[in-house]
Symmetry: C2
Subunit: 190 residues, 2 copies
DNA sequence: CTTCCACATGTCAACATCGACATATCCGTC
DNA sequence: GACGGATATGTCGATGTTGACATGTGGAAG
């Protein structure tokens, strides 16, 4: 249902759009919230039209179809938000990799989380910029709350990575001090 | 591949386990990292055994199978961590609902995020407790880094929800003060 | 000694998602 | 006017995930 709701939300925010524009939104503004390919978007829009949640208006010139939310679609969206219990199942590859870190030596693990830190520091900045650009008086708040959440989540991951890297690096150092033999040749240091 | 790697990690941490125990881990300790049902775990373990990443040791008494990681399995896990680019595709229902918030009136939206705040405040506390219990000197760090990340992420969501609720509540107040007529009975237009 | 629950493993149909394949048009550049 | 890139829509097979169905055992409580 989530993809369907994302599409209803996008169409509500934009007023009307075609599948191509909606797919681009999943690559741009919505990329830190939900992702979908065009191969998922087009069939879903067709199903939604059949269910009466959106209206399809063929117009071209390029065989283009313009979709708009119907009243039933708006109601469905509000019903989902207020009445359907959110799915809390977590499937987070960053967290999974965090769990698996001890499989690696401290040095290699530290290097990995340093890269994570860099990535999420950049992502936080990018979303912050998006959030600030959303202050423009167009769609009333659409995306602003999600962007704020995105900034906070990305920053939290970056901070965690910084903390973890520090811990792992000092662990690597301790090992080297405590056991000054030559068996650390296998994994190079950061 | 993520499920496979999660299983390899769990088996590395535990030394050896059967499918039932591994499934339970996805419901308990790993639930804030990755989730999976037994209907996914059993076939995957069979495929992993066939691929030589784990060894299956039938022993019963209840037709029970004990799995252990092979050397090839350990190598595969380290290879995945260090050489395979992490998938950064985000599919976050909390964030999606955040994006959709403006579809609702400020009052209803504020109520929703207050519930989110409560939920994630509790989750943060639960994971913090798990993290502290992991300080025991058993498995060397397995789970501790992931738990720390879980605490930070849950806290970040709760903080965001508190901030959003405050904003939405003041917005609801402003509307009532600024427009003392009765047209806020329905759902106002987006 | 029966009944119930936790243990334990599996299959299957339905749905979600991905990446590749397929097609065609509009438009600006060379 | 040929060519390429962005626009635009679709299908399809493979894989990931869920929830329901199916089956049987060991042990503890009554």
């Amino acid at each position: 249902m989530s993809l369907r709701m994302a599409l209803l939300g996008l169409l509500t925010a934009k007023g009307a759009a075609n599948g191509y524009e909606l797919t681009k939104a999943f690559g741009d503004t919505l990329s830190h919230v939900w992702s979908a390919q065009h191969s998922q978007v087009y069939p879903e829009l067709a199903r939604m039209a059949e269910a009466g949640l959106v209206t399809a208006e063929d117009e071209g010139p390029r065989g283009r179809k313009r979709y708009s939310v119907t009243e039933a679609g708006g109601e469905e969206l509000r019903r989902w938000l207020t009445e359907v219990e959110p799915s809390r199942t977590v499937r987070n590859e960053v967290a999974l990799r965090a769990f698996l870190l001890p499989s690696l030596g401290a040095t290699a693990a530290a290097q990995l989380v340093r890269e994570e830190e860099k990535f999420y520091r950049q992502r936080a900045e990018a979303i912050a910029q998006l959030r600030d650009s959303l202050q423009a008086p167009d769609t009333p708040g659409f995306g602003a709350y999600a962007a704020e959440l995105g900034v906070r989540l990305s920053t939290a991951i970056a901070d965690w990575a910084e903390w973890a890297a520090g811990r792992l690096e000092s662990e690597a150092g301790d090992v080297r001090e405590a056991e000054p033999d030559d068996r650390e040749h296998g994994t190079h240091e950061a």
